[in-house]
């Protein structure tokens, strides 16, 4: 122990400083607070024992979890569109023409509700893979139409030097 502290008459237990680092680490990172060690969750009796059989039967039937089949996705699109078309024709024949909705409104509504109610489990990347991006314009997915003037205003406000973008003007 350092002499200058000894002079003052203070003492520390043997090995105190040697173990200090570890004790501090423990207090910082280990479970040094008063919380229950168990989390309270329970499992139904026999669940884990029966898991093997459940998995074997799923594998035997060739069921694939969470595997996203891109092609069959289109099948639903056509089914939904066919249903929507059939509904419109039937309503049209029975009730005559109505100004409240059009075929395209109903088809979209049907499709939207189908996609909303049925979780296709597609991430945005997977969506991007199946959507024909070449045929989509920015304005197809925006509620408010984006015109050139808006774009230029946005760039003007947010880009330091517009000329660096090398924009070609049609004049």
């Amino acid at each position: 122990m350092d002499k200058k502290y000894k002079k003052e008459g203070f003492r520390v237990p043997d090995g105190y400083f040697e173990g200090l680092n570890k004790r501090l680490q423990d207090r910082l990172y280990q479970d040094s607070f008063d919380l229950p060690e168990e989390d309270g969750f329970a499992v139904p009796e026999g669940y884990l024992e029966g898991l093997q059989d459940k998995l074997n039967s799923r594998i035997a039937t060739g069921e694939e979890p969470g595997v996203i089949k891109l092609k069959p996705w289109k099948k639903y699109y056509f089914v939904a569109a066919s249903i929507a078309a059939a509904v419109v024709i039937i309503i049209g024949l029975r009730l005559g023409r109505t100004d409240d909705f059009t075929f395209s409104d109903l088809a979209n509504a049907e499709l939207e509700s189908y996609f909303y109610d049925n979780d296709l489990e597609l991430t945005s990347y997977e969506m991007a893979e199946v959507l024909p991006v070449e045929e989509i314009e920015v304005n197809d997915i925006l509620d408010n139409e984006l015109n050139e003037e808006n774009i230029m205003d946005y760039l003007d406000d947010n880009v330091e030097d517009l000329y660096e973008l090398n924009i070609e003007y049609d004049e």
Binding site: P36, V43, P44, L55, R58, D119
Partner: protein, 180 residues
């Protein structure tokens, strides 16, 4: 217990894979169950996610190159499955992920498979308020008692970062419980 390399080789071999898969399930079912359960909280959802995890492992074992340990790879699959399950659930219910977490923790009161007392329930409610990564780290360290090295390999995060996150998580839980 059978060596990991041998088990992986057997899983990749059509002749031996059924038997090896059985060994794999028996070796990991309990650990993975509890890992998933602490993320999704209720038993039925855990069962779905656990089965999907094992089936994904079985279907994708060919792609396992051995760059990490088998258990880390399986934990990663289980973690991703559980987190995407929660994302899908929150989307279906029209809830934000924070609101879903809160609601799941509150539902534990009436869950027949939750036998915790008041403090254990409060602890789960406190954990539900943590950001996703802190929650994972806290559960893996505190309840599953995994080593930082193991968590680091599973979550692909540095040990230093994990220690800091765990420390932060503990502080937040403490202050949540003190507030209450």
């Amino acid at each position: 217990m059978i060596a990991e390399e041998t088990l992986v080789a057997q899983l990749k071999d059509r002749e031996s894979q059924a038997k090896a898969f059985e060994v794999l399930i028996n070796a990991y079912k309990e650990r993975l169950y509890w890992h998933i359960r602490r993320i999704v909280l209720n038993h039925d959802d855990t069962d779905d996610v656990l089965q999907n995890t094992f089936i994904k492992v079985f279907r994708n074992i060919e792609n396992f190159k051995g760059d990490s340990k088998l258990y880390s790879w399986m934990y990663r699959i289980a973690t991703n499955e559980a987190l995407s399950f929660l994302k899908t659930k929150s989307r279906k219910l029209g809830l934000s992920s924070e609101a879903l977490q809160e609601s799941l923790a509150n539902q534990l009161v009436s869950d027949v498979y939750f036998e915790g007392d008041e403090i254990q329930l409060k602890l789960q409610q406190a954990i539900a308020t943590l950001p996703e990564k802190q929650k994972l780290i806290f559960n893996m360290k505190y309840f599953q008692e995994l080593k930082y090295d193991e968590i680091s390999e599973i979550l692909d995060t540095s040990v230093g970062g994990l220690k800091a996150s765990y420390h932060l998580a503990v502080k937040k839980i403490q202050s949540y419980l003190e507030e209450d």
